[in-house]
């Protein structure tokens, strides 16, 4: 069975600073990995995904994530954040048979001007 751990429940950063949101997973099989974002009072939407191939994945709004199999991690990064990035970010994992998709507990990113 898969599981996902998001190590930080809240991450405050200053505008234009870099940010990293951490995600670790466990699985006994090959995995697909995802980051979803939930802006205030909105539904969840896909930010980026790793299915196979290059371990560095680029998503929308300047975000990227790197799949590290040896460390079982899929950390999300952005070199310079904007106020509009204020949201809750969820890491998710499914096995390569693409069945059940498990979400982490979320990381609330707050941007200070």
């Amino acid at each position: 069975a898969q599981s996902v751990t998001q190590l930080d429940s809240q991450v405050p950063v200053f505008e234009e600073a870099p940010v990293e949101l951490r995600c670790n997973y466990s699985s006994s099989v090959s995995v697909y990995l995802f980051w979803y974002v939930q802006y205030p009072n909105q539904g969840l939407q896909l930010l980026l995904k790793y299915l196979s191939g290059s371990t560095l994945v680029k998503g929308i709004n300047g975000f990227e994530a790197e799949f590290n199999k040896s460390q079982t991690s899929f950390h999300l990064r952005k070199p310079s954040v904007h106020i509009s990035d204020t949201a809750e970010y969820f890491c998710a994992v499914s096995d390569s048979r693409a069945s059940k998709i498990i979400f982490g507990s979320g990381t609330r990113l707050s941007i200070r001007p």
Binding site: G43, K100, F103, G106
Partner: protein, 113 residues
């Protein structure tokens, strides 16, 4: 339809009553998921459908919860004898093929008084 549609958007019910939550997935999407999002918590997996069958019901919290899907389309999540701890936002998502991302609905906010 253009997206995943959930109804009702809000539901207030008295403790002990039964409720039905409906999800209309994106046309042609074979996979359908139900999640529960409680205040300050992540997304809790409830159940997953592939077509009309549910290979994984492991997330249903108790036997008061059940779900069905008919015609490979609409799904209904039923909660019997609701309790206050059932209060949450219930999210439905659908996906196409073997490599999701998930497309989420806006959720049903259930309040049990």
């Amino acid at each position: 339809g253009a997206g995943v549609s959930q109804s009702p958007s809000n539901k207030v019910t008295e403790k002990g009553k039964d409720v039905e939550l409906r999800c209309d997935p994106i046309s042609g999407h074979t996979a359908l998921y139900w999640y529960r999002q409680s205040l300050g918590q992540g997304l809790e997996f409830l159940i997953y459908f592939q077509g009309n069958s549910a290979p994984d019901k492991s997330g249903l919290p108790s036997d008061r919860f059940s779900a069905e899907r008919t015609g490979g389309s609409v799904s209904t999540l039923t909660i019997q004898r609701t309790q206050q701890e059932d209060s949450a936002v219930y999210l439905c998502a659908s996906s196409l093929g073997a490599a999701p991302p998930l497309h989420f609905g806006n959720g049903t906010r259930l309040t049990v008084t």
